[in-house]
C-alpha cells in the first residue's frame, strides 16, 4: 500500500488557527457578538483543512468507493457544523436539537464505514433515548416563563466562561491530534487481521445455512400446519453481515464485559432512583451574590420541587 501522507502540515496548522479565531468569535460573549464573521471563518478553516488534506487521498486505493467518500465529506460537514452550534447556541433546547444532528451525522459516518449495526444503535439509543431524557430535564428545569413565553436567554447562557483560554487549549490539542491523524507510519498490522468469514461460519455457526434453518423451522414451528411454506432468507455462506460480526465478537470474546455493562447499568438505575428521591429543603438556598440572574421566579415554582 502506498503510504500517501501529507508532505506539509502547515496548511492544517493554518486551518486550525483560523478555526480557533472563528470559534472564538462565535462564542456567546454577551452583547457584542460577531457570530456571522466567526461562522464564515470557521467554515473557511474547515474548507482549508480539507483542501490541505485532499492531496493525501489516493482515490484508486481508498478502501472505500469514491462515492462513499463524498458522503464522508457531507456527513462530516454536518457533524462539525452541528457540533459548533451545540457549543455556541444560547438556548439549551437548541443545543440539544443540534446534538441530535451530530448523532445523526456520525451515524451516517458509520454507514459510510459499513458499520450498520452501530449506526442504527447510535440513532436508537442516543437520538431516541438519551436525547429525550435531556429534553425532559431541560423542560423540567426551564426557569424563565412558560412554554408560550419565548423568554429571555439566561444570563449564564449568554456569557461563556474563559472562551479565549478554552479555545486556545482545545485547538492546540486539535492541532496535535490532526498531525497524528495524517502522520505517516500507519502500516497494516497483519496480526490484527481476522480469519475470513467462511472460516468463522464453518467453525462457530455451522448450522447457519438455509437448509438447517428450514429443517428446524419445519419441525419446530410449522409442525402444526404442514401445508405452510416457510420463507427463509438464504444467508450468504461466505460473508457475515455486520450485525452478525458484532454479535459474534460481543458474545464470544467479551462475555465478562456484557455482565459488567449490565452491572453498571443496574448501579446507574439504582443511583438515579436514589438521587431522584432525595429530599431537598423547600426553601432554596439564597443565591450567592456573584451569580447574576434575572429575577421573577422564586416562589412561584417552588411547588414543583416538592
Amino acid at each position: 500500500m502506498q503510504s500517501t501522507i501529507l508532505t506539509n502540515p502547515l496548511t492544517i496548522y493554518l486551518a486550525v488557527v483560523i478555526g480557533a479565531v472563528g470559534l472564538w468569535f462565535m462564542m456567546p460573549k454577551g452583547r457584542q457578538n460577531r457570530r456571522i464573521v466567526g461562522g464564515v471563518l470557521a467554515a473557511a478553516a474547515l474548507g482549508l483543512g480539507w483542501f490541505g488534506t485532499y492531496e493525501a487521498l489516493d482515490f484508486a486505493n481508498l478502501g472505500l468507493s469514491a462515492i462513499a467518500f463524498v458522503y464522508y465529506y457531507v456527513f462530516s460537514a454536518i457533524a462539525i457544523v452541528s457540533a459548533v452550534m451545540v457549543i455556541t447556541a444560547t438556548k439549551p433546547v437548541h443545543s440539544a436539537l443540534w446534538f441530535v444532528m451530530v448523532v445523526l451525522a456520525s451515524a451516517g459516518l458509520f454507514l459510510v464505514l459499513s458499520a450498520e449495526f452501530m449506526a442504527f444503535a447510535m440513532i436508537i439509543i442516543y437520538a431516541g433515548a438519551i436525547l429525550v431524557t435531556y429534553m425532559f430535564v431541560i423542560m423540567l428545569a426551564a426557569s424563565a416563563g412558560g412554554p408560550n413565553d419565548p423568554g429571555e436567554d439566561e444570563i449564564f447562557d449568554l456569557r461563556s466562561r474563559t472562551p479565549t483560554a478554552a479555545v486556545i487549549a482545545g485547538f492546540l490539542m486539535l492541532a496535535v491530534l490532526l498531525t497524528l491523524s495524517f502522520d505517516k507510519g500507519n502500516q497494516p498490522n497483519p496480526l490484527a487481521a481476522m480469519p475470513s468469514d467462511g472460516e468463522i461460519i464453518a467453525e462457530v455457526i455451522p448450522n447457519r445455512s438455509a437448509d438447517v434453518l428450514r429443517d428446524r423451522i419445519e419441525t419446530e414451528i410449522f409442525r402444526f400446519d404442514p401445508s405452510a411454506e416457510p420463507v427463509i432468507h438464504q444467508a450468504d455462506p461466505e460473508r457475515l453481515s455486520n450485525v452478525e460480526k458484532v454479535g459474534l465478537d460481543l458474545f464470544q470474546s467479551h462475555p465478562l464485559g456484557i455482565e459488567l455493562a449490565g452491572i453498571v447499568l443496574l448501579v446507574a438505575l439504582i443511583g438515579a432512583v436514589v438521587i431522584a428521591k432525595t429530599r431537598v429543603e423547600d426553601h432554596p438556598e439564597p443565591r450567592p451574590s456573584g451569580a447574576a440572574h434575572p429575577s421573577g421566579h422564586g416562589e412561584a415554582d417552588t411547588g414543583a420541587a416538592a
Binding site: 487521498l57 426557569s143 487549549a169 465478537d249
Partner: protein
C-alpha cells in the same frame, strides 16, 4: 517480530481503509472531541456541559469505528457498545444530579456552585 510468512497464512488481510482515509475519519473524530472539550469548559449551563461530554463520546465512537474498519477487527465496534452503555449510565446519573442541584438553587448556572460549602 512479525513472522514474514504470516500474511500469506491469513486468508483475508482485511485492511480496508487507506491511511489517508483513516486520517480523514480520525480528523472528524478529533474535531468532535475537541469541540466537546471546549464546550465543556466554556459553557456555564449544567445541561449543556453534559451534552458536550456526550459529544466527546461521539468523537470517540467515530474514532473507534474508523480504527475497527481500518484493521478489519470488529472489536472496535463492539467497544462502542460499551461506550454507549457508559454514556447512558452517565446521562441518567448526571441528569438526576442536575435536577437535584436545580431544586436547591433554582438555577442551572454552574457558577452558582463555585463555592463549595456545607
Amino acid at each position: 517480530m512479525i513472522d514474514p510468512a504470516l500474511p500469506s497464512l491469513l486468508p483475508a488481510l482485511a485492511v480496508s481503509l487507506s491511511d489517508a482515509a483513516l486520517g480523514h475519519f480520525q480528523a472528524t473524530a478529533a474535531i468532535l472531541f475537541c469541540l466537546g472539550l471546549i464546550g465543556f469548559v466554556t459553557r456555564r449551563n449544567l445541561i449543556v456541559m453534559f451534552l458536550c461530554t456526550e459529544m466527546m463520546f461521539q468523537g470517540v465512537a467515530v474514532s473507534l469505528i474508523a480504527f475497527s474498519v481500518y484493521h478489519g477487527n470488529v472489536t472496535g465496534q463492539t467497544f462502542v457498545i460499551f461506550v454507549l452503555t457508559i454514556a447512558a449510565a452517565e446521562a441518567a446519573l448526571a441528569l438526576g444530579l442536575v435536577v437535584m442541584l436545580f431544586r436547591r438553587r433554582r438555577t442551572l448556572d454552574a457558577e452558582a456552585w463555585a463555592q463549595l460549602h456545607d
